[in-house]
Amino acid sequence: MNAEVRPQSIAAQLVVVPLLLVVWEGCVRVLGVSADKLPAPTVILEVIWELRVSLAGAVGTTLLEAVIGLIAGTIFGILSGIVFSRSRIIERMFLPYFVGSQAVPILAFGAIIIMWFGNGIASKAVIAFYLSFFPVAVNTLSGMRSVGQDEIGLLRTFGASSWTILFKLQLPAALPAILTAVRLGASLALIGAIVGEWFGATQGLGAVLLTAMYEYRIDYLWAGIVLTGVTGVVMYGAVSFIQNRIAWWHAEA
């Protein structure tokens, strides 16, 4: 099975966190680093505790935007990957535009998205979607293409239709690759949600970060950074968990 999920390695990874915090705290105190540059972890935790209600709301908003975008991106990515895998012509017609769409930085047209989809959750979810569908589409396609002609031939001798081959062979075979892309998409969706919030939002982690910057509240800024990091790790971890549950065999393939 996947090396990442062994309990010992998780334990080994978790040991690093308190170690890092202690070193951080120690350095800040001993060297007398000003809180404007780098606040000590205890100071950051204190701020997070103080603002827990509004910060929890911010995390919830951003998480919702990112998850909606990621789910939409995953569904769209898988469907377009399936369509591409079934028709070379459609792939040749549309795949270059998929690639091209990713060459335009979201920063160039984020404002337009806000104008089209409003100042609320929808516009951020759209940006999260935009960043996450592409890796899923590409990996679905390549995962399905990786199935050998011999395997497809064998199923045909059992009398399988092309839909049966899709659902019993190609899609399951592509599942590990698809979920690897969703894991990458989870990180991208979070970036998308936060970037969207920078273009205009009153709620969410992006808004917290932006406000803290304008008001020069370094402690708020660090609280936002820590929570963004935690949110990212949680999303990544959730997808990894699902991957190890439903596509555990990828070590063999």
């Binding site: 199923l155 001798t157 059992f158 019993k168 399951p172 075979a173």
Partner: protein, 273 residues
């Protein structure tokens, strides 16, 4: 008596650009219902091409004919009619032993629960009891091959094509699997066409051994194996066995030499462009 399968003048030419390679030329073969026929021939003689034609994956050149139970079968009607076991086991890594074994039956439309019940009833015969819930990567090569065979048997067709099922196994496992296959086969007596490289295997298993020529492949020679069944492992030392082997070795070697010298000739010598 009508033959289970009758192959009449089947040819196959593969074209790659202007290069044409004749893989099969007028192959003729008839197999009785319940007969176990083994097919030997040099590498690249078109054995696998013949199999792909018989299962409907490759259309033959126009002119030849295939009959099953006396009925003419166009190539596109063959898919789903013949139980085929390819050289590699091709088990699906995400399916358990039981679910791999029922794959063909499931695709054939047997409800999953019924297919599982049937599989459970015969799992012992395939020596897989206790491994129903295991995944392919947890199995040895011999066990994987038994799962693939079980999948082929549970796809209930009277005609089974087995393409070197034991080719990748070590000698000891191989001879155990041969005896086991005969036991399973003798219980049901389905019609089997079995490809092998191994002349001992061909004689030990078959009612009849058929030899294919070097490319372009056709049936060069066939001989009945009159050894009584069930066959004990010692049968390989019986004088009749040795005599059959001597005959077959001569013919197979002759064809192998032709195939070998053809390899040293430029490939184009065979081709008519």
């Amino acid at each position: 008596m009508v033959a289970k399968i009758n192959v009449k003048n089947i040819s196959k030419t593969f074209a790659a650009g202007s290069l044409k390679v004749k893989a099969l030329e007028d192959a003729n073969l008839s197999i009785k219902s319940g007969e176990f026929v083994t097919l030997v021939g040099p590498s690249g003689c078109g054995k696998s091409t013949l199999f792909n034609i018989l299962v409907g994956l490759t259309p033959p050149d126009p002119g030849g004919e295939l009959h099953i139970d006396g009925k003419h079968q166009p190539s596109d009607h063959l898919l789903g009619q013949v139980a085929f076991m390819p050289q590699r086991d091709m088990l699906l890594p995400w399916r358990t032993v039981l679910d791999n074994a029922i794959l063909a039956a499931e695709i054939d439309g047997v409800p999953k629960r019924r297919a599982r019940e049937r599989a459970n009833a015969s799992i012992e015969r395939f020596g897989l009891q206790g491994f129903e819930a295991h995944y392919p990567k947890q199995l040895s090569g011999g066990m994987r091959q038994r799962v693939a065979l079980m999948r082929t048997f549970l796809f209930e067709r009277d005609l089974m094509l087995l393409d070197e099922p034991f080719g990748a196994l070590d000698a000891l496992t191989r001879s155990l699997m041969q005896r086991w296959l005969l036991e399973v086969w003798e219980a049901e007596r389905r019609t089997v066409l079995f490809i092998t490289h191994d002349i001992d295997e061909a004689i030990f298993l078959g009612d009849r051994v058929v030899v294919m020529s070097a490319r372009p492949g056709h049936i060069k020679f066939e001989i009945e194996v009159k050894l009584p069944r069930p066959r004990a492992p010692e049968v390989v030392t019986a004088p009749e066995f040795i005599e059959l082997k001597r005959q077959l070795l001569g013919i197979v070697e002759e064809e192998s030499l032709k195939a070998f010298s053809a390899m040293n000739r430029p490939l184009l010598a065979d081709a008519k462009s």
